[in-house]
Amino acid sequence: MTGHITHLISEYIDGALPPKVLEKAKAHLFFCNHCRNMLKEMQENSQRLKNLAPVKPPTDLEEKIIRSLEKEMQTGEIKKNSPESLKEWFFSYRGLAITATAALAIVLFNIIPINLKSKFQPQERKPSLSSKAKTPVEKSATVSDRAELKESLSRMRHSKELSRRESTLKTDNLAMKKVTVPAPMAKEAAPLSAMQVTRAAVKGERRGVAQNEPPSKMNHPQSALGYTPQSSEPWVEIKGQSSGVTEPFQEVITDLHSWRRIWHRHVGAQEPKPGLPPVDFGVNEVLFICAGSQPTGGYSLDITKVENTEWEGKPARVVYYQIKTPPENSMKMMVITQPFVFRLVPKIQGTTFFKPLK
């Protein structure tokens, strides 16, 4: 067995070998019958396992589990997502970082409008020594007393107390300058803070908690359990020319698990991977049709009609679809395409038939 690459075959199948090792493995496979046969056998086995049909749970199991969970809840054995878990999250490293980002975003959003306003009304906002130095006596003075006040002001300017006040005000003014965001900067600051918030939200989505939501929502087990859909865009139909499913394929997807599997297969090696479109499998299901690999561009796939009917006394559905081919002698892109279509349809308790149209 010395010299064979049997230990690398598993990673070779998964495409997980580093490039240099892969080159060596390929070179070895070219010459070694033993390893080539083993690779073929293991690839076939992986395919066999992959092709095992998914097993659906019995219809009453879901209800049975929900009932037992509710029973446990009533007996109080289940620790609810209470303020304790929220407190744990809040004081965790991530919790602190996200709270700080959110707080910064709030502060920025609050300060920026004030400073934009201050640009248009400089007299009101800009602190000046004369306006800040006013004493309560000056504030209450009438117009007739202005001359006297001017005199007293000039006297006060030379006094020690004023110099002390001036120094204090200078410090205040400096401090204000530090806080004030000039208008052009404010324009930059707004998207930056928005980006930070988005990042926080994305992080939240990854770890299953929507951090930019109020605590009451964070406490919701649903958000804590990672139900935020990867893509929240509402959709009815997704179609295109490129799919990871390379053979003709029709399927009715009725549950999230199958949806994830098929989407994963469809997305294939695409990078970045598009998010899983949201589907409420309580009321809807997804029709997926793929035309398989086509030799050129110009092919397309359309669902022309979805007809609800009856079959053997049960509701049924007929999905008519058409694979359009490019006209003969037309210019075609020399690229392999896999036309596909996903269509969101209302759920039915019956059989679905796929009928191709010519």
Partner: protein, 188 residues
């Protein structure tokens, strides 16, 4: 109000994750009854420990981890009692047939198309070979080749590092290859 909310969330979790969890449990335990018990136990354990779920992996991965650990514990417990928890499917065609029929609506007496019958026979051999593997080998093959999980997800589910996942998977696949070859010879 909070209670109603939690119950709704729990129901949603069960509705959305049950097919995946059940499929895994069925592939691990190889029969319907055990798969049902395992699924139920998995959700109960998950809900009891939901406050410990930190969101460092997806909920499905976390549930899979609970399911695999629960299954391993059961197998060990049964082995200690000198009773095998999972039954060999080579001898129980009925159960594997029920589970693996891709279109169970057709199991009403009408003959299945030839292709489906052939696939069913092939599936039985695959499942029988799978049943002859050790727990760890079986778990890793089910996760990788049936459930199509990535190395990283498997590492999280089985609480292993990536290197161990790769080496263990290589060994498990090699063993599956020999067991499957034997299975084919036996049934010829």
């Amino acid at each position: 109000m909070a209670d109603i909310w939690n119950e709704e969330a729990m129901a949603k979790m069960v509705r959305e994750e049950l097919p995946g969890v059940y499929n895994l449990c069925f592939r691990l335990s190889s029969n319907r009854e055990d798969a049902e018990d395992l699924s139920q136990e998995t959700f109960l354990k998950a809900i009891r420990a939901i406050h410990k779920f930190k969101g460092q992996s997806t909920l499905a991965t976390w549930l899979y981890r609970i399911a695999v650990n629960t299954w391993k514990n059961k197998v060990r417990h049964q082995v200690r009692r000198k009773f095998k928890f999972h039954i060999s499917l080579s001898g129980s065609a009925k159960e594997s047939g029920d589970g693996d029929s891709p279109n169970r609506e057709l199991n009403d007496g009408r003959p299945l198309p030839l292709e489906q019958l052939e696939k069913k026979e092939g599936d039985k051999k695959v499942i029988a070979a799978l049943g002859n593997l050790e727990e760890n080998e079986k778990a890793i093959i089910v996760l990788k080749d049936i459930d199509q999980k990535s190395y990283e997800e498997i590492a999280k589910v089985l609480n292993l590092n990536l290197g161990t996942v790769k080496s263990r998977l290589a060994r498990a696949r090699e063993k599956f290859r020999t067991k499957f070859a034997l299975q084919r010879v036996k049934t010829r």
